[in-house]
């Protein structure tokens, strides 16, 4: 029954998506006399009920995985009755169909939330946005129902499941994909709103204020998802790196870059009524990048460590959806954007000017990543196989990232509309001095590669600059949203510091040692005490016991493992980490040599944890910004309501009503 309820929910939700699409489109018609088309009132309830149905469908699949219902094909091929419950549950989205259902569930939920809570937009724009949202959802329902049905039954129930890929049997799977998906698909709201505003040509600050919390919310989730994913790859793969420029990592980075640019440009639109076309463009681009990522991951056109079981037919289906949505959106953009009235103008040296510069830099980095990701696809069309890696991505993105960080340090200090460098002379001098001093100091102590060196200098300068907008202000009166910006920018500095330290100061030791022997790495003396077999619920492993001593005192014990899972059979390397405030010791056990010694690989990575602390600070800054904006908005609406009530009272008393303040 569970599967049938889930499937029925999906079909019903798809039907409601049709209603939402048609009813939303009706909002655009028959508004000549200013009245709302009576057909348009169904869009909101359709979106809300559709969200409930999609969530219910996902809950049904979750339930089927929890009880390991082996009559469902997806459960039989991806789960196992002997797996710990948490991995049974997370296994729901550890496969193509289940993760697609999660994707669609979040898509419907975002649409439902938009329909349920957003009352500030004109109904025409809102109707158009909901119509677009329904249109997008419909395509993905069709994809699930016709090509990736998660509820498909087996003719004969399986005796036992195949099990989940051991690399995914980790708590990381519980956090990373749902957060990331919520971020990806949360951007669909920005997409729908942008399309809605483009169709009705109502691109104005009021629209930007409606769009902003959605963009911020999706961006916070993306930031958290990428941060979690990076840490997960770092400790789970056992390769010691935190970012591999893998196509799937890039697929998550590209929407983040677009969303970062969008978030800043929508703020300019809200505050200054400038950058209208550009904001719409980014709104379309951000979700397009999410969909493009879905295509790259699931079609198998690119080779990646993350690849799902690939299927060209599914790839063709998603490509058709991409053509419909991205192609359609860009076509409407090309036809309509010229008709959107130009926004306010501003000087080059102004807050807007700095934001535009960084928007262009972010877009350039996005283009660099996109080209690097798609380049193998292009060359393979001519039968040349290439792999694009850090030697391209690092310097190419740095060309744009370095000026971006410089402008990011200065931008928040500038005034809106027009400003002069002379006004912020002190701040400029301070930031430049910190930058040069740090680079000089670090170069004095040793020879380091250029990029980490620049990174260290920029991180220090940015950290100082991030706090400068607070200078000379009464801290208690600084708006919450400004605190959010300060925190997020400071987080970027922290993260950059971690990346630069990891790049410049990492020490690595690869040695074959016998039990009892000691190796030195950094300040640490690592002794291999023993190598013993251990067993877990669905794996056996060889576990090394490493005693780590720093100076004198009690040793810390690290236990890296080489694990062998038996269903499905696969070997994984479980790294062991020793976290100190100033870095991490990372240990992996390798094979045994013929002479009985064990290969042990140990890294000392100074301040590597700052990469992820920074990521969390950035996300926290985003949360503060949302909280601040929502609070201001609630207050403003309350004041407007009180004002209206007072005017109504005055009118009732027969007095002259004062003009509304807004």
């Amino acid at each position: 029954m569970i599967a049938e309820i889930g499937l029925a929910c999906l079909w019903l939700a798809a039907a409601l998506a049709v209603l939402q699409m048609v009813s939303g489109a009706m909002a655009l018609r028959g508004a000549a006399d200013g009245a709302i088309n009576p057909m348009a009132i169904y869009a909101r309830p359709a979106a809300v009920v559709q969200a409930g149905l999609a969530v219910l469908a996902f809950a049904m699949l979750l339930w089927a995985f929890a009880i390991t219902d082996l009559s469902i094909k997806l459960v039989a091929t991806n789960s196992h009755s002997m797996k710990p419950l948490i991995y049974k549950l997370t296994g729901t989205w550890g496969n193509h169909e289940g993760s697609m259902l999660l994707w669609v569930g979040v898509l419907a939920l975002s649409g439902g939330l938009l329909a349920g809570f957003e009352r500030r937009l004109p109904e025409r724009t809102m109707g158009a946005a909901l119509g677009v949202q329904g249109f997008v959802a419909l395509g993905f329902y069709a994809f699930l129902l016709f090509s990736s049905n998660p509820f498909e039954r087996l003719p004969v129930p399986a005796v036992e499941g195949v099990g989940l890929n051991p690399l995914l049997q980790d708590i990381g799977l519980a956090i990373h994909p749902p957060t990331l998906y919520a971020g990806y698909v949360g951007l669909s709201v920005a997409f729908s709103l942008a399309m809605g505003a483009l169709l009705t040509r109502e691109v104005n600050p009021a629209f930007a204020r409606v769009m902003r919390p959605w963009v911020l919310g999706a961006w916070v989730l993306l930031t958290l998802g990428i941060t979690a994913g990076s840490y997960w790859a770092y400790y789970e793969l056992g390769w010691g790196g935190w970012w591999f420029w893998d196509p799937v990592e890039n697929a998550s980075l590209m929407p983040w870059l677009a969303a970062t640019a969008l978030m800043h440009s929508v703020s300019v639109l809200a505050a200054r009524d400038a950058l209208r076309t550009w904001t719409i463009m980014l709104g379309v681009l951000a979700f397009s990048m999410s969909m493009l990522g879905t295509f790259l991951v699931r079609s198998g056109v690119l080779t990646s460590v993350h690849a799902f079981a690939v299927d060209p037919e599914r790839g063709a289906f998603i490509l058709a959806l991409l053509g419909l949505y991205i192609g359609g959106a860009f076509a409407i953009f090309a036809l309509r954007a010229g008709a959107v009235a130009e926004g306010q103008r501003f000087a080059v040296t102004s807050r807007e000017g700095a934001l535009v510069f960084n928007n262009v830099m972010l877009s350039a980095i996005l283009a660099i990543v996109l080209m690097g990701t798609l380049y193998p696809l292009l060359t393979e069309a001519f039968d040349v196989r290439v792999s694009v890696g850090p030697p391209y991505f690092n310097p190419a993105s740095a060309i744009f990232a370095v000026p971006m960080f410089v402008v990011m340090a200065i931008g928040p200090l500038l005034r809106w509309k027009a400003d002069t460098p002379a006004r912020v002379q002190f701040e400029l001098t301070l930031v430049a001095a910190v930058l040069i001093a740090v680079i000089a100091l670090v170069s004095f102590f040793g020879q380091f590669p250029l990029l980490p060196l620049l990174g260290l200098g920029l991180a220090a300068a940015l950290a100082v600059a991030a706090l400068l907008p607070l200078r000379g202000r009464r801290l208690a009166r600084v708006p919450t949203a400004t605190w959010g910006m300060v925190l997020a920018h400071f987080g970027v500095a922290v993260s950059l510091f971690g990346m630069a330290c990891e790049g410049a100061f990492t020490q690595e030791r690869l040695a074959a040692i016998a039990p009892g022997a000691t190796e030195d790495v950094g300040d640490f003396a690592v002794t291999l005490e023993s190598v013993t077999p251990v067993a877990g619920p669905n794996w056996t492993a060889i576990e090394a016991r490493l005693a780590v001593r720093q100076g004198g005192g009690e040793p810390a014990i690290l236990t890296p493992q080489a694990r062998n899972f038996w269903s499905p059979p696969q070997a994984t390397s479980e790294s062991a980490l020793l976290t100190r405030w100033n870095g991490q010791l990372y240990a992996v056990i390798g094979n045994q040599n013929e002479d009985g010694r064990w290969q042990i690989r140990v890294w000392w990575k100074p301040f590597v944890t700052f990469i992820w602390y920074g990521g969390m600070l950035i996300a926290l800054g985003g949360l503060l910004a949302i909280a601040g904006r929502v609070r201001v908005d609630v207050r403003r609406r309350k004041a407007a309501r009180l004002g209206r009530a007072r005017r109504a009272d005055l009118a009732a008393l027969g007095g002259a009503a004062p003009a509304p303040a807004e």
Binding site: V284, S288, P312, G327, F330, F333, A334, G338, L377
Partner: protein, 176 residues
């Protein structure tokens, strides 16, 4: 005033990508990476016999005559048992097969051949995987097609399945 031509750029870029992706989706996805040893001459080697009844193998044994198969195998390797019938079939079809036994003992080699048949004309003993590594093989079994000049023309990784036999005969023909 903004030029409206610019507004079409995103659509044009996307159309290019969509066309490329659609083309690539229809292409056979070839995950196979060809060894850089293909087209290279065999390295110089001379291996002692792996057991008493057959001569050992060296680079010189591949020069002259027709193309040959070079089979990397070992008596301790289970997939090698699985591919034994296919090697027989290749031999019956006229292929000349030179074996290289990896890290093996003469008595084990003899026992293996007695049980699973002997398709080889000569077998060299590579006790330290020296030749195996030099020709770009990382495991057992692997089978190379070597032309009459002693140049590597094709590499088959893994055991030879029944449907690989015509393909290998075809490769031998091409190397002629």
């Amino acid at each position: 005033m903004r030029s409206s031509v610019w507004l079409w750029v995103p659509l044009a870029l996307f159309a290019f990508f969509a066309g490329l992706a659609a083309y690539m989706l229809t292409q056979e996805k070839d995950q196979f990476v060809e060894s850089t040893m293909i087209g290279q001459p065999l390295p110089d080697f001379a291996l002692k016999p792996a057991f008493a009844d057959l001569p050992g193998a060296g680079r010189g044994d591949f020069v002259g005559g027709g193309p040959r198969l070079l089979n990397i195998w070992a008596s301790w390797c289970l997939p090698c048992i699985a591919e034994a019938p296919q090697l027989e079939a290749l031999q019956d079809a006229g292929a000349e097969i030179v074996g290289i036994a990896i890290r093996d003992r003469p008595e084990d080699v003899a026992a293996f051949l007695a049980r699973h048949g002997n398709p080889y004309v000569r077998i060299g003993a590579d006790d330290i995987s020296e030749v195996q590594l030099a020709i770009g093989s990382s495991g057992v079994p692997e089978t190379f097609v070597i032309d009459a000049e002693g140049v590597i023309r094709y590499q088959h990784i893994g055991d030879i399945r029944a449907d690989d036999v015509p393909m290998l005969l075809d490769q031998l023909e091409k190397a002629r």
